[in-house]
């Protein structure tokens, strides 16, 4: 069994209430941080832990905190990004629903480390029950003296607010989130300036994912060095994975970084294999925006080693044969699933969620969606594949925010790895509407390249 840091007490009845959470050792990290550590020491612990942002980009959290500008007389803000809208990712919602005090405690520790007097938890508008849960938890924490004026007699003041968003995917991008929090239209800002210099209301701001903030609690409790012992290389600690798709036991799992993908899918500790006795066809390993991989490449890297679930392990092989950790939305597809339809579905999502600010993404996502719709419904042409690859290249990297990349990668990777399935949709248009392409050779072991002596 892997170590559980965030979900250790998740099955304790009533862990969502203050009393049970406190009885299980809750808020001891907070007391340790506020009473024995200075803010800089907290940042130093998080730096030592090697914690990397759990929202998708994987940027070291401690580094992000130390970049925060600290001009005199200007307030600083901590914003928790609970906008979790990536298709396939639902770990933050799970955390906020079942163990809200972990997030509250993490927020107070992080706010203390950054010197923020006001902090916000921005939660997606659709998650109204979670917003109520968090508000109740904040009220409980306040009643216990962990929020408000002069916390634990240390002279540190903090107010924590929950802000419901409007329910747009784009508001999960940190600068769009800040705009939305300010009450404006959620358009991403043009960087620089980065939020660490001028963020919310023009003040230095740190935006962190729910899971990153929650992870500061075990880091402070056990110390950064202890946390860094878990995991492999630069991927330290544990990570919540939202497993969905054709798995026997889908759900949120906490893994120690470094678990082999094969073990994660097939072992009984985690997903328990593919449902209904089917075989694995493809996996989207980190939420809808990362490249999709066929079964043979997700289980083993191109070099033939077992692929492990770390930031580096999943991206082994670059975009040619690798994918990304992303936000940990692990979607498995069995042999009955249609990759063309899935790609179209993702593309439809990005078309719908593009903010429309910059032209490549605004026009390109709609174009890709239309071409994929045509392919899926049997009216495509063989030239459409090249067209899609070219359009995705024109979008990728040329936009203000990463939504353009996120829209381009799934399409480009699906065509890269599943081109024969796309071609089958063109050549057998009528049949493609009625049935799926099947597994084909996607689970076959990769052929060993011949060595020329």
């Amino acid at each position: 069994m892997g170590r559980k840091l965030l979900l250790e007490h998740i099955n304790v009845p009533g862990i969502n209430t203050y009393d049970v959470y406190r009885a299980k050792g809750g808020y001891t990290s907070l007391e340790k941080a506020l009473k024995t550590l200075t803010p800089d020491e907290v940042v130093e612990e998080v730096k030592k832990s090697g914690l990397r942002g759990r929202g998708g980009a994987g940027f070291p959290t401690g580094m992000k905190w130390s970049f925060l500008a600290k001009p005199e007389g200007v307030p600083r803000y901590l914003v928790c990004n609970g906008d979790e809208s990536e298709p396939g990712t639902f770990k933050d919602r799970y955390l906020m629903t079942h163990i809200p005090h972990l997030l509250i405690e993490g927020m107070i520790i992080a706010s203390y480390a950054l010197g923020a007097k006001t902090s916000y938890i921005y939660v997606r508008g659709e998650m109204m029950p979670q917003i109520r849960i968090l508000e109740k938890a904040i009220a409980e924490a306040k009643a216990a003296g962990y929020l408000g004026q002069n916390i634990l007699g240390t002279g540190y003041d903090l107010e924590l607010y929950v802000q419901p968003g409007g329910g747009a995917y784009i508001c999960g991008e940190e600068t769009a989130l800040i705009e939305s929090l300010e009450g404006k239209r959620g358009n991403p800002r043009i960087k620089p300036p980065f939020p660490a210099i001028a963020g919310l209301y023009g003040c230095p701001t740190v935006v962190n994912n729910v899971e990153s903030i929650a992870a500061t609690v075990p880091i402070i409790r056990d110390g950064g060095d202890e946390y860094a012992k878990i995991g492999i290389g630069r991927s330290t600690g544990t990570k919540l994975i939202s497993a969905s798709g054709n798995l026997k036991r889908p759900g949120v799992y906490e893994i120690e970084l470094g678990v082999p993908v094969e073990e994660f899918i097939y072992s009984d500790e985690y997903c328990g294999g593919i449902a209904n006795g089917k075989r694995l066809k493809a996996v989207v390993a980190g939420g809808s925006s990362v490249p999709i991989l066929p079964a043979n490449l997700i289980l083993k890297t191109a070099a033939g080693d077992a692929r492990i679930m770390t930031y580096e392990g999943l991206s082994e092989g670059g975009f040619a044969t690798g994918t990304m950790m992303g936000s940990g939305g692990f979607i498995a597809f069995d042999e009955d699933q249609c990759i063309v339809r899935n790609t179209w579905n993702f593309s439809r999502f990005y078309h719908h969620e593009s903010c429309g600010q910059c032209s490549p993404c605004r026009e390109g996502t709609g174009w890709m969606e239309k071409v994929l719709h045509r392919l899926e419904h049997g009216h495509g042409k063989l030239s459409d594949m090249d067209l899609l690859v070219d359009v995705s290249k024109k979008i990728e990297g040329n936009t203000i925010c990463p939504l353009g990349d996120a829209a381009a990668w799934p399409v480009a990777s699906a065509i890269r790895h599943f081109r024969d399935e796309f071609e089958w949709h063109v050549t057998n248009g009528a049949e493609a509407v009625a049935r799926n392409f099947g597994l084909a050779h996607y689970a076959d072991p990769l052929p060993k390249p011949e060595v020329v002596s």
Partner: protein
């Protein structure tokens, strides 16, 4: 002063200058096109992505190149920065892609568009666009709406540059129009069918890079290249209006009044609606003289002050003489 090199040409500029403005100080072919950036409007730029350039050397201190192409209108220069614009195939390719994207939902109705001839998208498409479209679907369409008694919005043509939004925010007292919806169904519209009605609202027509916002007093009156621009001014009673305009003549009539625009199509000074829409008689204005139009613009093609066009039929004295002889012979008989 910081030194920046754009396509091999070095220039010293003030710290804080954007790459685009540094390129404009050099001038010539290396200036990236800009569809959404407007130097007079704070916060504009960064959206259309036509001004993308490659930074091959970040600065003297940190010589690493920037990982992605950057929007030159919103990236400030650093000392020792090296920028590639037209010398980088990557930039040309990306720009071609952006122009293609801008045109896939554009109606391409230039033959009946009032902006034709002074349209930035037309110029951009001519320079960087592909000869053929790869887009095989229905174009997005909207209804035309009048967003004020003098301004018509033709949303089909809009490229969502946000310039009119910034203008309304910064030049006029109160903004009542903005961008509704998101993605490719985003549109410019007024707040619950309110009319844009204030003294400076007409400036949105001038800042619009395409024919999305047009002057209803000039609609379908004439093509811009048949009108003659003349610079004029008047003592405008409005304190914020400079009264310096360009009058567009067709014969004796003033068909249209606009603000004066510089070589990048940006207005020099904003003018009020009275000057723009109501003062359409020569007697209202003090004429300064004809406006210089770049020889690259189609508008200049109508002005033959110095250049005499070649005769369409060449005179041939030998043939004339022969014809005359034949005529005489036949009439004599």
């Amino acid at each position: 002063m910081v030194k920046v090199t754009i396509d091999g040409i070095s220039i010293e500029v003030e710290p804080g200058t954007s790459i685009l403005n540094a390129a404009r100080q050099i001038g010539g072919d290396i200036v990236p096109p800009a569809m959404c950036y407007y130097s007079k409007l704070e916060g504009s730029g960064g959206k259309c992505r036509t001004c993308l350039v490659k930074v091959s050397k970040g600065s003297e201190k940190d010589p690493r190149p920037m990982p992605k192409l950057v929007a030159s209108c919103r990236t400030t220069v650093m000392d020792g920065m090296e920028v590639q614009n037209i010398t980088s195939p990557e930039v040309t390719e990306a720009r071609k892609g952006v122009v293609e994207m801008l045109l896939i939902n554009h109606p391409l109705d230039c033959p009946i568009c009032d902006q034709a001839g002074e349209c930035h998208l037309q110029d951009l498409g001519y320079e960087h666009g592909a000869a053929k479209t790869r887009y095989e679907f229905d174009r997005r369409t909207f209804d035309r709406i009048d967003i004020g008694d003098k301004i018509q919005l033709h949303m089909n043509r809009c490229i969502l540059c946000y310039r009119c939004v910034f203008t309304a925010d910064q030049i006029t007292e109160k903004r009542v129009h903005g961008v509704l919806n998101r993605g490719d169904h985003a549109e410019i519209s007024t707040y619950i069918q309110k009319a844009v009605d204030n003294d400076f609202s007409g400036n949105v027509i001038d800042v619009c890079p395409v024919g999305a916002l047009t002057d209803r007093t000039f609609r379908f009156k004439n093509r811009v290249w048949f009108t003659k621009p003349v610079e004029a001014h008047r003592d405008c009673e409005h304190e914020k209006c400079s009264g310096k305009v360009t009058l567009w003549y067709k014969g004796e009539d003033v068909l249209r009044v606009t603000a004066r625009k510089d070589q990048y199509g940006e207005v020099e000074e904003f003018i009020c609606n009275t000057c723009r829409f109501d003062k359409k008689k020569t007697s209202d204005w003090v004429i300064e003289g004809p406006r210089k139009v770049s020889h690259k613009s189609v508008i200049s093609s109508n002005h033959y002050e110095t250049l005499h066009p070649l005769p369409v039929v060449k005179t041939n004295p030998v043939l004339l003489e022969a014809n005359k002889e034949q005529f005489e012979r036949e009439t004599r008989l």
